[in-house]
Each structure stands twice: as C-alpha cells, then as structure tokens.
C-alpha cells in the first residue's frame, strides 16, 4: 500500500496566513503513520456487520499488526474454530473473552488455545469511506 497526501507547511491558527502557504514541504506518507511494523502488518477487508457499534462497517479496511500484544478492549482478529473473525477482546479477572460489537450479535467466547480459539493479530486502525 502506498498512499500519500500533500502536507502543507503552514499551520492553521491565529494571525495572517503565511505568504508561503502554497509552498508544499513534503507529502504525508500514511504508511509511516499507520504502519509501525511493516513486515508484521496486513491490510484486510471486513465482511459483515457484527462490529458496527465499535465503528467497523461492512467493507471497511483494517490495519492489522500481528506483532502487538492485545490490551483489554482491543479490536482483534481471532481464530475461532479455524475461521478468522473480527472481535473485541474483553478481560474479566484472569479470563479473556471475545465479543461482537453490535446489539444484534450477543456472544462471549472464552479464549482457549486448546479449543482453537486464539488471537491472530491486533487491529490498529479502521479505514472507512465516508464519501
């Protein structure tokens, strides 16, 4: 993925606009900002609506970093009975669960490596088209 956006040197703020506003310093490279660990980061596309309440819609792109340790309430890609799915991670005392992020889906799956339920990667960004 290579995506760049022109970056204006001039900062928005009080006072007169700088005469150099139209001078473009360099491009913003979203790769640098959204992908911290290149070899471990995958872009995947979402299919389904079970995560709409956490802001993930059908067709959105997810930036997934496999090298990160998930935190409580992290959005994760998990292997559930040998299918990859998008879920939220919830920790309760010493147990970790996977849940959906939508009123229409109520589930709470206990993470258990032996039953083929484990975390595959951590979602770091959601890219959603609003236009």
């Amino acid at each position: 993925m290579k995506l760049t956006i022109p970056y204006y040197l001039h900062k928005a703020g009080a006072g007169f606009p700088s005469p150099a506003t139209d001078y473009i310093e360099e491009d913003i490279d979203l790769n640098i900002h959204l992908i911290k660990n290149v070899p471990a980061t995958f872009i995947i596309r979402v299919q389904g609506k079970s995560m709409v309440d956490v802001g993930i819609n059908d067709g959105d792109l997810l930036v997934v970093d496999k090298s990160l340790k998930p935190k409580n309430f992290s959005t994760v890609i998990a292997n559930v009975h040998d299918e990859l799915v998008v879920k939220s991670l919830v920790q309760e005392r010493d147990k970790k669960f996977l849940t959906s992020g939508s009123k229409d889906f109520i589930d709470k799956i206990l993470i258990n490596e032996e039953e083929d339920i484990f975390i595959w990667g951590v979602v770091t960004y959601v890219i959603h088209s609003t236009y």
């Binding site: 471990a40 995947i44 596309r45 496999k66 090298s67 040998d82 299918e83």
Partner: protein, 431 residues
C-alpha cells in the same frame, strides 16, 4: 576485536512447507489438513504439508499422477499464487533483518544468518527467539539450524525440521560424528547426483565418512567444490555469506500455457509479452543485455502428439534493454524455430550477458549525436512505459505484437486469489 575470537555461528532459517504455510495463513480451515501446492499451470506438486507427505505424495510429481491419492484423502489443492508467496517471503526476510545480523537471502524461503556475535551458550535461545518472532509477525513457521559452517547449518536444519522446537544447534556439541553418520551423502549441501555416485563407488555413503576422508584423497580424486564441502563438514568455514546482492547475469521469463498453443500468432504474442516483462525487469535493475535466447517446446507428457523442442540465440549489435528491439529480435528468432503442426505448451525468453546500462558503449553509437538523441528518446519512452504500468497495472502500455487478448495465460484453477500486496485482492475477514 572480540568477535574474531568467537566461534563462527551460521544459522539457516528455512520456512516449513513455505507455499502451503502461505495458503494456510488466511485459511485456517486447512491448518491440519493435507495440502499441496501445484507449479505454474497446475503441472507438478511443488509444496506439501506434513500431512500430505505422510500420505506418500511425492515432491515434483505431476499432479495427474497423484490425483487418486489426492481425491481419496481429500487433500486440499492450490495453484501457485506467487504474488502472495513473494510478499510473505519479503516479510519473513525483513523480520530476520531486525536481528542486526549479516543475512544472505538464499531462496524464496531460506536465508543464512551470521550469528557469530552472540555468545555460544545463548545460541539455542537466540534461534528460538528468531523462530518465535517470525512466526508471531508473519504467521510463517520456520526451522532453524545453527552450526559453524553453512554446510553444517544445512544438516542442523535437517534435524530441526523433525523437532517440535524447530531449532537445532550443533555449536556446543563436541563430537558431531554420530549426527553426521545419519546423514546420507546425497543429502549434504552441494553434493549432487553425479558426486553421490562417485562417492558411493569409493565407499562414502554418509556425511561422517566424507568428513573423515583424508584431505589428500579428496584433493586428488575430486574437484575444489567437494574439498570445500569436506572442510565445511569438519567445521572450517569455506563458503562465505553472500550478503551483497550480486547483480544477475541473466534474466529468464518463461511460462507454460493454460491451453495448448498451435498458431504462430498466439505464440508470438506470448513471446513478445515475456520480452516486455524481461526488459522491464532488467531496466529496473539498470542492466542491458548482450544476447537473447528464445525457446519453445511441446508437452513431454502428451504421447499422441509429436514432441518438438527448439531454441536459438542471437546477439544484439549493441547491448540493450529496449523493449522494442528485444521484441523484434525475439520475433525474428521465433520465425526460424517455429514449426507448424505442433501443440506448444511452453515458451520463454532469456536475456544474457547482462551488464550495467551506463557502461553501455559502442564505437559507433557514441560518436553519432543523432544516435544518442534516439537512444535518449527511447530511454525516456521506456521509462514512461514502466512508470505507467507501475501505476495502472502491468500491460497498460505495451508493444502491439504482445497482443491484447491473452488466450495463452497461465492455468490457475485452484488459486486462493488472495494477495496481501495488492489492494484489490486483499484477504476478507468476517465480522
């Protein structure tokens, strides 16, 4: 420097059933199933999961020969998806580079690392950490063999493959003879079929026997390469890590056709396309080619039809990387080697005698301004073709002889069609 006093420690990192592991990454349903990956054109089996190996499916066998076992055991079959494998290979290699060691990328799924800077007693732990990191970051399982030489690290890797931990070090083992005794001589790195025959004739059947042969016998009876192998088995490094990417000497683009091709026109389009790919490739590396070879052949497995295979080479008057010149030369060759009435299955082009583009000089070309102007114009034309194709996808701009409909494109019946490096083929995950 303390590093000089330290033992040389070379690790060979090898991805387990690499193409199969790539297919499994986004398709965990086949994590424990027997899986095979087929070569270009779904011809032969080129990668097998352990489960498939256990069924007796052999490496390199034509797909149709193993079809019965495959159907009976519900083996998962995939056409090769090289852009996915290439992307995951790059990820594995980039992960390995994080360990701040010298690295030689040996093939798509193997790399040698120089771990000499780590203390001897920690080496197994370092190997384990490398393996865990690659697995966590890229999802690709590897085996790591560590030893004093490249040849021994290959043997260590052999052993690591069979271990649960996936890591084997021979560094701290005093006497490795009992290990070498179990390694067949033809499994030793650099020992091919001919050498195996020769060694067998002289009573050498395993690595230990070669290691313990006297230097004078080896020098007397075989070539330099095999005496290097014997030294390396003794733990004396003779083959260095090739860390600087040496510029390639040749560039081959060849493919099997999805269907049999009979007409000259279709064959010509295929060959012209291979020329475009090959010339783009050498341009991207700032190289020029001295000569071009074109080859064609029919299928060796089709008994009812006659077998025909031919190749021819021509030299360019001036070394070039110009698509138009290269296509022109290739078509001329093809006209001389094409025979009517055959069903062609494979064709290819090879650019040879590659050298740096800026060293390109010629008695005549440098003197004539007109010629230089023309060269510059063509160079900038080639550059804009490459950048347009880079931006809008391969074959947006092309040479007319490459044709527009590609009937002969590769057969990829069972492709997973996922590409982690292509925006339009990203893996889908359910939410």
């Amino acid at each position: 420097m303390s590093s000089i006093l330290r033992t040389k420690k070379i690790a060979l990192v090898d991805c387990n059933s690499f193409y199969v592991s790539c297919e499994r990454l986004f398709n965990p349903k086949i994590r424990r199933k027997p899986v095979v990956v087929l070569s270009n054109n779904d011809g032969c089996i080129i990668s097998r999961s352990n489960e498939a190996k256990a069924l007796g499916i052999k490496m390199g066998e034509p797909y149709f020969k193993e079809k019965d076992i495959i159907i009976k055991n519900k083996v998962e079959v995939f056409s090769s998806n090289y852009s996915l494998y290439g992307d995951l290979s790059r990820r594995v290699m980039r992960t390995l580079k994080r360990f701040n060691t010298k690295i030689e990328v040996y093939s798509i799924d193997e790399a040698f690392l120089d771990l000499s800077n780590f203390p001897d007693q920690d080496i197994e732990k370092v190997g384990k950490e490398i393996r865990d990191t690659v697995l966590q970051w890229t999802g690709i399982p590897t085996s790591i063999g560590i030893a004093k030489t490249k040849t021994l690290s290959k043997i260590a890797n052999h052993i690591a493959k069979k271990k649960q931990s996936g890591v084997t070090s021979l560094i701290n083992i005093e006497n490795i003879d009992p290990i070498l005794e179990k390694i067949d001589i033809n499994d030793v790195w650099g020992v091919g079929r001919q050498l195996t025959k020769f060694y067998n004739k002289n009573g050498i059947y395993n690595a230990k026997q070669l290691k313990n042969k006297s230097n004078s016998w080896i020098k007397k009876s075989s070539n330099v390469l095999s005496s290097r192998t014997a030294m390396e088995l003794k733990g004396i490094p003779c083959i260095n890590l090739e860390t600087t990417t040496t510029k390639r000497k040749s560039c081959v683009v060849s493919r099997s056709f999805g269907k049999r091709v009979e007409r000259f026109q279709e064959l010509k389009e295929a060959v012209a396309n291979y020329c475009l790919n090959a010339s783009e490739k050498i341009r991207s590396e700032s190289l020029v080619a001295k000569a071009i070879t074109v080859f064609v052949r029919t299928s060796p497995f089709q008994r009812n039809y006659g077998y025909y295979s031919n190749a021819k080479t021509v030299d360019f008057p001036i070394a070039t990387n110009n698509s138009i010149e290269i296509v022109k030369a290739a078509v001329t060759i093809l006209e001389t080697i094409f025979k009517n009435g055959y069903q062609y299955q494979k064709a290819g082009v090879m650019l040879t005698g590659l050298s740096n583009a800026n060293e390109k000089t010629n008695l005549f070309s440098s003197e004539k301004d007109e010629k230089i102007n023309k060269d510059e114009k063509i160079n900038s034309l080639m550059k804009s073709i490459d950048s347009t194709n880079h931006r809008y996808g391969r074959s947006t701009l092309s040479v007319a002889s490459a044709g527009v409909q590609k009937k002969w494109n590769m057969k990829r019946e069972y492709s997973s069609k996922i590409d982690t490096a292509d925006f339009y083929s990203l893996p889908m995950i359910r939410a």
